[in-house]
Symmetry: C2
Amino acid sequence: FKRYKSISPSIDKLHSELSAIVGKKNAVSSLAAREHHNHDESHHTGGSPAIVVWPNSVQEVSEVARACYLNSVPMIPFGTGTGLEGGVIPKTESVTVNLTNMDAISDLNIEDFDVRVQPGVTRKALNREIRNTGLWFPVDPGADASICGMVATGASGTNAVRYGTIKHNVLNLEVVLADGTILNTGGSKRRCRKSSAGYNLTELFIGSEGTLGFITSATVRLHGMPESTLSAVCSFPSVQDAVNTSIQVLQYSIPIARIEFLDNVAIKAVNNFSKLENKIAPTLFLEFHGSEAGAKEQVNQVAEIAAANGGTQFKWAETVEERSKLWQARHDTFYALLALKPGNKGYSTDVCVPISQLPAAIEHSLSIVEKYGILCGIAGHVGDGNYHCLLMLDSDNESEVLRAKMAAEEIGRKAIFLGGSCTGEHGIGIGKRELLKEEVGLETLNVMKGIKNVLDPRNLMNPFKGLPEI
Amino acid sequence: FKRYKSISPSIDKLHSELSAIVGKKNAVSSLAAREHHNHDESHHTGGSPAIVVWPNSVQEVSEVARACYLNSVPMIPFGTGTGLEGGVIPKTESVTVNLTNMDAISDLNIEDFDVRVQPGVTRKALNREIRNTGLWFPVDPGADASICGMVATGASGTNAVRYGTIKHNVLNLEVVLADGTILNTGGSKRRCRKSSAGYNLTELFIGSEGTLGFITSATVRLHGMPESTLSAVCSFPSVQDAVNTSIQVLQYSIPIARIEFLDNVAIKAVNNFSKLENKIAPTLFLEFHGSEAGAKEQVNQVAEIAAANGGTQFKWAETVEERSKLWQARHDTFYALLALKPGNKGYSTDVCVPISQLPAAIEHSLSIVEKYGILCGIAGHVGDGNYHCLLMLDSDNESEVLRAKMAAEEIGRKAIFLGGSCTGEHGIGIGKRELLKEEVGLETLNVMKGIKNVLDPRNLMNPFKGLPEI
């Protein structure tokens, strides 16, 4: 393997120091290791890290941070690499800290519905581990992401409408700051449901995208497994009809678990990819959790609401197999769209708007992608007002990449205008830093910068991500 | 009325400046105004403000802040004065800014379940205003507090177990910093359900207790009114049995709306005060929201769980009147206990522990109040693990006040040891600043101090509250 040819002599010195901390085999600058850590699942590109280290404990993370801090070399936390905004891509000569060797699941408190996980624990791994307890961790962004990585991103996914986003499911965090300081955002022991003690540093780290420190463990909430789970699909004459159905479901306080929207293009792609025969129309995928009677009551209520909004083909998944197939299809939407034009790369927008604004926002998005000539399917967590324009593009075609970028920016700007956000769950990363400025305004951004400066005065934690240069 | 005799000549100069901003009648230093603003509902005492101002707009708040900032005079935000930790009591020569003249309810979005309220809007006022919309604001701390004040405190109350605490119900905040800067934590328009854009400044202000700035408006979530509401009371052989019932209710994912605990002393006081005939035993007050069938199913499930834990007298409130009486009794617990020994003052502890630790924590609390010889009833939001030891004391009896303080401290320390927090919903205020240090540790406290310093570099926002001097 080709080693990294440093531009600064201090990198070689740092490499020796890091090897002394984590062991030679866990501090690597081979081309393979560096290339494995130069991308996530987005279309974003950049450089490769100079060195990749795999610490095995929070003490080692602290010592690694301290060494980088004293050498003034930027650090990038790395989990499963399943991010969608380029948050792990180096923009300068950096050390990438792969945290996945730390994969302990500890302090499982079944009576209190909480557990502590290190960064190497993915949501599926946790759910496998606790499958016999009657509990589960519901936050589901699709990818089998690291839970600590989901914390860093501010992730959510398909069942946030019932179980909340990641921020509603974190009780405490252990973090390592740029200078190696180890702290717990809620103190070393806290795992109670609520607290009004001091500033909410836990929430400050949620969605901080690696720019404030390393998240080395998360104490998260678990939920009781539903006694009964039912799924259904329903198609509608228009986007407005599908959205109206969602609004009314929420208005009637029906505790629906998932309410997911796919547009015509996405449905067509999903039908092809997953061999399904859904009607080509704006469609809702629905899931109901509850007691047996409770879940059935929800289904009947929602079927009635859907029918009143012109919904047809309210189809049940009667078996576990049918249900899995239905949701697999939903989760595979991105890949289904990619398969429409082999060789394509995808870029997912991630706007969130007040639900009443969804029809206007989606209509605008469709006009924008048409204007720029970009193939696009839409998938949305419609109960939260969050939807993704899945833009398909040939990453070698510079004009297409530029047009996609311009389309994404216009879509984000429109969402902000409608009372929404340019990102509901993917984060700012590399590409939306200017939109963040438009969204929150200069005064608010200045406070964010000030906070960044308190926690990371040398700007070494994942620089050029999350916040724009003012 | 006696005017305030300033210790610094600059106060008179500031008074003129403030009068020019808010008008003479809204900048007052009469004894009556000053004494009205020198206490909250707690036993805490301190000084009176030098001047009280009533601004009428965010621009006036900004100009008031700017004037105080340039004169280096501390500022104290004041809402309904219903706090329980002395958060509004001046500790130095200060200007109290009473925000209740700003009482607009605006931007009601029925389809999106959100609304914007200024600091003069209480939860009851909001619910009156929207009573015909099918929506309601559920966060209910008992007192008819200002919603912006609840944000500042990090409040919650009896139905957080279903609808979340205040932090789960805030979408955006308008705030004024110490130097007069006006900003929106989520930008000027944002009111969507979720966002991963930048650091979560909204959460940073929730529970900041007036130490980071003035909250001049809050965009909050509303919820659909339940179709059916049912209430019940059930008594148990022991605290453990009552708590086990709660744990199992949560384990079965029964979406209970309220599950409130009262101990023997509290039940006895409530019986006397509200002319009720509850059995003198550890008791749960329960409320169920849902469809007609759904709420009934919940009742049946919970009745079964309660019976399996030795619960007796599972009594229904069949009419709206009975239900109101039941919950009025629960909300009057504090006053019922005060009535046991006329002339007493009350002090409420506010610990929160993991629910499995509730029996141990409550048993410990009872032994502590016995040790210190303090009359005490216990009321708890048991679904959250949060409970209050309502300490009754003669505030003229120095020894009793001291013993109550020592008891509260030991109770808080034990909660921290058990994985809990010294405050679930009342905040740190004046009295728990040293406990905060024990709870979160010095490194975490240092970060909090750093953040305070970014937003309020001259330490003028409500000094000597919330954070300890390190």
